[in-house]
Every structure is written in C-alpha cells, then in structure tokens.
Symmetry: C2
Subunit: 119 residues, 2 copies
DNA sequence: TTGATATATTCCTGTATAGGAATATTATGT
DNA sequence: ACATAATATTCCTATACAGGAATATATCAA
C-alpha cells in the first residue's frame, strides 16, 4: 500500500512549485488557458494539466466562455492549510526556550567555577 | 526531467499526512523516537524515516540524549508557507465578487423582460 | 566482551506523477 | 459541412518515494 499522496489533496496540490506559480498568476483575476500560457511561457498541455490538478483539488474553478475556459482561484481552499499552520504560530519563537534549556543544561553540567554562588 | 518534487522541500514535506500528524504529535515538546512510536502506534522504522524527511526539510531538530534521540519541531520553518498563503487572504471572501459577476452576466444575457428600463 | 535497548538504514516493490510529444475534443465562424 | 482556434487527453518514460521486512549501527549495562 505505497504512497498515500495524491494531488487531489490541497496540501499536495500546492506542493508542486509550478502549481504555486500558477496560483500566483491567477490570483485576483480570470484568465483563459492561453493567457496563462502567454504569461508563463509554458507549453499549453502543461498548463492545462496543472490547471486540471488544481481544479480537482478545488483550488481553481473553471468557466466556459465561448471557446475559451476561464480559470479563477478559489482562495478559500487555502484556508485549511492556513489554519493548520496557525496552530503552530505560538511556537514560532520558541527557540528562545530551547536556548534557555541549553544554557541551563550547560550550567548544570559545568563545574560551576565562579559566578553568583548565592545558593 | 520528470517530477520536480522532493521531500526536502517544506511544502512537500508537509504534504504527507503522516508527517503532519508527526508534527502535531511533536509540537511543543521533546520526544524520543520510541515515545513517538508509542503514541502513534506506527512501526519504528516508519517513524524514523518520516522524522528523517522532516529533519532534512528542517522541520524538526534532533538531539542525542544517551542512547535516545530526542526530536523537536522547528515551528519557524512553517513560516514561509504561512507567508505564501497570507498573500491570498485578501481574496478569501471574493466569491461574492464572482457571484456579482455572475449576476451581472445573467442580467446582461437575459431578454430584460421588465425592470427599470430607463435607457 | 556480551547482551540488550534505541534508532537508523538498506533493499524491495508498487504506484503516483511531471514532462514531452502527439492527438483528440470542443466550440466558433463562414 | 469545413477549417480553425482553444483546450483537453492520451501515451510514454523516468523518477520519487511510502511502506514493509530485515538488518545495521550505536549506546549503555553488567
């Protein structure tokens, strides 16, 4: 039962750098596939395929407009990721704690030469 | 040149659900591998391997303590992801805009039966 | 040294892709 | 119906890698 990863998952979908670039390109506007091709300078099938993955993950929506397909980002779909990360924000600067531990350990293991010996 | 993905990248590292679980398990405390094994009930090599990937991505640090290895989360390494997502926050609720567009389009394409025909 | 405990690594296999090339599909205009 | 423009899909190949099993390495204790 190898590989639990699949691109339909939001986390995996944005793990691919090109797909992140695509989201950055598309954000805040509606672009047809060819417009994306022009902007990114990637091959059209590549754009279509990455867009397709993003669509499966729900990260973009597609709308037919004449013979073009116009894509938009569903920014909300990034919310769960943001929430997942948010729960760790309070540990952001906790290296200080670790440094603290480190210093404490150091002091305990040291022969205690001098310093304020006011026990 | 297939597959640009590699687990040493932070985004890819957390794309794996088990790895996210591992981070959740480890956050805010220091645990040895076996403690993680007990908590998660996964096989030890699996724990070690996932921890190794997280370490390569910089998401955890490891410290030798006797014959055990104690792991901690480097929460800061999640910051870039949070920043990447943050740039899209302002588009969070923009479906309303899209709904707006939709309604406008609808009105324009409709035969305009009645309503304020003031042109 | 021997044994035991803790952890990492290696080998194997199946699978999910990313990218490229070529082709298919869909919609439009005439 | 036909040509064309816009986009999607299929086929191919190389590769990354998750999970399992077995084994290696390291560290301590006696």
């Amino acid at each position: 039962m190898p590989r639990a990863l699949n691109t339909h998952d939001t986390f995996t979908a944005i793990a691919e750098p090109k797909r992140r670039e695509l989201i950055e390109t598309l954000i805040g506007r509606e672009l047809s596939v060819n417009q994306v091709v022009e902007i990114t300078q990637w091959r059209q099938p590549m754009v279509s395929k990455h867009l397709s993955v993003l669509k499966q993950a729900g990260l973009v929506s597609e709308r037919k407009e004449g013979r073009q397909r116009v894509y938009t980002v569903n920014a909300d779909k990034l919310k769960p990721i943001q929430l997942w990360i948010a729960q760790f924000e309070k540990h952001w600067n906790t290296q200080f704690d670790q440094l603290d531990h480190y210093l404490t350990d150091l002091q305990n293991s040291r022969p205690k030469t001098e310093a304020k010996n006011d026990d």
